[in-house]
Symmetry: C2
Subunit: 345 residues, 2 copies
């Protein structure tokens, strides 16, 4: 007889237009038999260890089917990147005890039918498992592909990163430093600014919430202007950066977290600078660069093991903490990469 468990799930209540609230999600208990997946299904049953809270998930809470990823299904568990341990497998590529990372449910155990996009993790004592949704997962890869493939960086260039202490931003800044750039980050608290300067090796950092005039702030930190703006936030900061770009500057448009929850985004007024300064503004999705993933894994794992980079996680304990942690992203509550520990390894 299969073991029967009572498991917790975080379900999606229904489509929203506003900034996410904890009440948009609901914790539900359900019974589950830990049966092996049906023969021929090629599915795997996993125990989820870590779940990732990512800003893009906000987009899946809208009733909009035209995006690169479909919306969540009301009443069902949320879905996101996770690190999981295989319990049962009907798939020759996975065996019980394997660690995997990829899309899974916001629940304790998940039956994963679409296994093509999973990645098997080779356990390594020197690298925490949870890093596979952060430093070595989608956010880290976004930093890597975005910085090297989109920003066309050169040694000595002036780089600005917004949401700089976050999952993506902290790696962008460190990669830029390793590349020989001068790097300034913005973040939303004194604690984050201190981390940027003292732990993450940024040359300078500032708390944008304490700046009345973002243009003046950027002028202060970039008296010679910005060569590369890695934009995680959009909105006013993007508009101010446009005023401070250097000739032939590049803006990697990675995210617009400041706009994601506004029903009408803020207007951007300074695009004329694109012409006079010959700026390239490039939107990108990390998923377009997946062919680079093996090189990324190797490069960034090595940097980490050699102590050349660090990575800050914000670890919440227990699935029940997930809704608040997710909502917290949009208020800057997370300090570093936001992860939920669902179960201990």
């Amino acid at each position: 007889m299969a073991e029967e468990v009572v498991q917790n799930k975080v379900t999606f209540k229904g489509y929203i237009d506003d900034i996410p609230k904890e009440t948009d999600m609901e914790l539900k208990l359900s019974n589950l038999e830990l049966n092996p997946p049906p023969q021929g299904s090629a599915a795997i049953l996993v125990k989820n260890l870590y779940l990732s809270c990512d800003p893009y998930m906000r987009g899946r809470m809208r009733d909009f089917h035209g995006s690169y990823i479909p919306p969540f299904v009301p009443g069902q568990a949320l879905e996101g990147f996770g690190v999981s341990k295989v319990i049962h497998s009907d798939n020759p590529n996975y065996k019980p005890g394997d660690f995997i990372t990829g899309f899974t449910g916001w629940e304790e155990y998940s039956l994963i039918k679409r296994t093509e996009q999973l990645r098997k993790i080779q356990p390594d004592d020197r690298i925490p498992l949870s890093f596979h949704v952060g430093l070595l997962g989608m956010p880290g890869f976004t930093a890597y592909a975005g910085f090297f493939e989109v920003c066309s960086p050169s040694k000595g260039e002036y780089v600005f990163v917004s949401a700089a202490s976050g999952a993506v931003g902290q790696l962008v800044g460190q990669l830029a430093k390793l590349h020989g750039c001068y790097v300034v980050g913005s973040a939303g608290s004194k604690e984050k600014v201190d981390l940027l300067k003292n732990k993450l090796g940024f040359d300078e950092a500032f708390n944008y919430k304490e700046e009345l005039d973002l243009n003046a702030a950027l002028q202060r930190y970039f008296p010679h202007g910005i060569d590369i703006y890695f934009d995680n936030v959009g909105g006013d900061m993007l508009d101010a950066a446009l005023l401070n770009m250097r000739i032939h500057g590049r803006i990697a448009v990675c995210g617009m977290v400041s706009q994601q929850s506004l029903s009408k985004p803020l207007g951007i007024y300074n695009l004329f600078n694109l012409i006079s300064r010959r700026i390239r503004m490039q939107g990108f999705l990390q998923s377009d660069y997946l062919n680079l993933y093996p090189r990324f894994l190797e490069d960034v794992s090595n940097y980490y093991k050699q102590g050349k980079i660090v990575y800050i996680e914000d670890m919440n304990e227990g699935l029940e903490s997930a809704p608040a942690a997710f909502v917290g992203l949009f208020h800057g509550k997370n300090v570093g990469k936001q992860v939920i520990r669902v179960a201990h390894e």
Copy 2:
């Protein structure tokens, strides 16, 4: 004794913040002795034949010294691209009777001291001299460099051009057609739309002034979306195009003539599409590509002589018509490239 003439000049009255008006310029008479330039000056004295009216000149009417080109000097003649005939020369590269094109004054005769950027014209019966400020001049080169170097076009792609019947736009559309693209243009009158469809070979064209909803108009003309938007106007049309770009689309940001005369530009609200559709938005100035000028001259002259492209000029007669013609650019009065004939060849 040198011949003495009374010449007309169009002088710049003073800095403006608003849309240019005829009264921002003044016609002045002055006496001039047609002396040879001083020995050792390397200057040339020219008779101006054609002057070009270009939207960027509006930027030189602002009291702003941080741009890629300095402002006009109040009280002095305006300056712009022209086609001129050499009368006297102290420069071994030019002799009386030569035709040249480059920066000259808005006056009948000019003493040109900075001759480095002039280009000597090889007269060719099959190519009107005035084309050297249009099809074969800066606007034509802008179309060529902007389309081939910035848009990364492929055969079969969907191309949208705004201000499509203008000096730049009409060539962009024709080059795109020659390249095997599907091309739609927008312009501000029925007459221009007819020219686009019947003379310039665009697949479709529409009068944006008759569209209440630019997004709906673009959806109608591009049911599969836009691969390349060659943007001459900025503002609302850019915002609507952002909603209609295809994945991996490109926007060449050439000009923002709709915004150039507004003291505060309109906001742009749809930049989020840059990310979800991975769009590259690239501002450019033709002057960054001048190394391609010889190839451009050869290619486009040949296309023209072979009848593969046409070029529409709007020719005004006499220097005294220049202020109104220049102002007319910002009201869409010009039909095709706006040129002033100062004197007959």
